[in-house]
């Protein structure tokens, strides 16, 4: 074999950092900078959000390299399962990572984990590369995400995303495969089952709160102008 075969990693039951108390977190935060939620940095627990912010704020190449090592092979695997040849998947994974570098300022950790954000970039690249179609996106809510998001909110979105990953891994195999095939672009909308068996309610509520906050900021700004 020229390349490694796919391997499916089961999320390990790693010790998760405790959520900060909102007020304490705010008081402890250094001026103008987001601080990593965890200091224990292993491959499984890397604080991807902090790395994306280092790319955004300092064009930090070491942070980018760490993101690349983790996400590029995953994007490549995702695209190959979506029907791309190995060469195309490799090229597109490079494109996706270059986009991550360029658009780091648009990542909003109160609405998505880094993995989710990377997925949306990879999905759009796939639609463009394999279907030669455009991907209509909803309109932007603001001039960009807050430079200093609330740590507790970031942590909760992160934690909910991980929970979703665990729940996906625990689904009966047939059900999980059906969901995966949908995300590999392998199903039409009428073949998709509306009932996923995944706990989507909590993460939806978190994202909804973040959207409400963004709207409030926009209203305040509109009144000031």
């Amino acid at each position: 074999m020229m390349f490694e075969t796919m391997r499916v990693e089961k999320p390990d039951a790693v010790a998760k950092p405790k959520p900060y108390d909102g007020l304490l977190a705010r008081a402890a935060r250094p001026e103008g900078r987001y601080r990593p939620v965890t200091t224990l940095v292993t491959d499984e627990q890397e604080d991807w959000t902090a790395l994306v912010f280092r790319v955004r704020d300092h064009q930090d190449r070491a942070a980018f390299a760490a993101l690349f090592r983790h996400f590029a092979p995953r994007v490549k695997g995702f695209l190959m399962k979506s029907g791309a040849s190995e060469q195309l998947a490799e090229e597109c994974a490079q494109d996706v990572m270059a986009t991550l570098w360029q658009k780091a300022g648009q990542f909003d950790p109160t609405r998505a984990s880094v993995a989710t954000w990377v997925f949306t970039i990879a999905r759009n690249r796939r639609i463009d590369a394999l279907r030669k179609a455009r991907r209509p996106e909803p309109e932007d809510l603001t001039w960009g995400p807050e430079a200093e998001p609330d740590q507790a909110e970031v942590f909760e979105v992160q934690q909910e995303s991980e929970r979703l990953g665990t729940a996906l891994a625990q689904l009966p195999q047939k059900q999980r495969e059906l969901i995966e095939r949908a995300y590999y672009g392998d199903l039409t909308h009428s073949e998709i089952a509306a009932e996923t068996g995944l706990p989507l309610g909590t993460i939806k509520s978190r994202i909804r709160l973040a959207l409400d906050k963004l709207r409030q900021h926009l209203d305040v700004k509109a009144q000031q102008e």
Binding site: Q102, D140, A182
Partner: protein, 213 residues
Amino acid sequence: MTIRHHLSDQLLMAYSAGDLPEGFALVIATHLSLCDECRARAGAFDAVGGAVVEDGFCSMSDGSLEACLSRIDGLSQITPRPRQAKGIIPAPLVDYIGGGLADVKWRPLGFGAKQAILRMSDRGASVRLLSIPGGSAMPEHSHRGTELTLVLQGAFRDETDRFGPGDIEVADDNLEHTPVAEEGQTCICLAATEAPLRFNRLIPRLAQPFFRI
């Protein structure tokens, strides 16, 4: 804007997974621009995509990181101007119209009704803007497969309910409906219909514009 009619989980998941024809994706992106509830639900489905990406793995070839590092050397970070609505036309639709309501190239359908077909890069679904004077019925049409209708201005009623600004009606081919625009303001809708591909092949190209409604 009080939105009462939302998207189904099935369509939101298909949108998030990137499984929809461009025309359906456009109507959904336009609805999400108006409806934070559905936008949050779409975000939850994106998170499922994140979990799927985390789960697969295929090693990159040797030197790929170095190649990417030298590539980003020449790349500056970009902060695109946020895409904003033009009046009642949300941003994703502005991209396809090439402007706001005043820039739509309407074609008359008779009895004061007008339509404008929007060009998509795939043929999975055809999309049109409809303008129906208050009190008039929508032009007779049948659809095979799913049809999405999003109200941008005014309102319409059919056998199922009333649909106002931001509301989206998801109709399958079982639904025989005769939408009628509410008295008063002209009703402006964005509608996408699964393209009847077999149909197109049998009909001469010239006749197509008449059948696309």
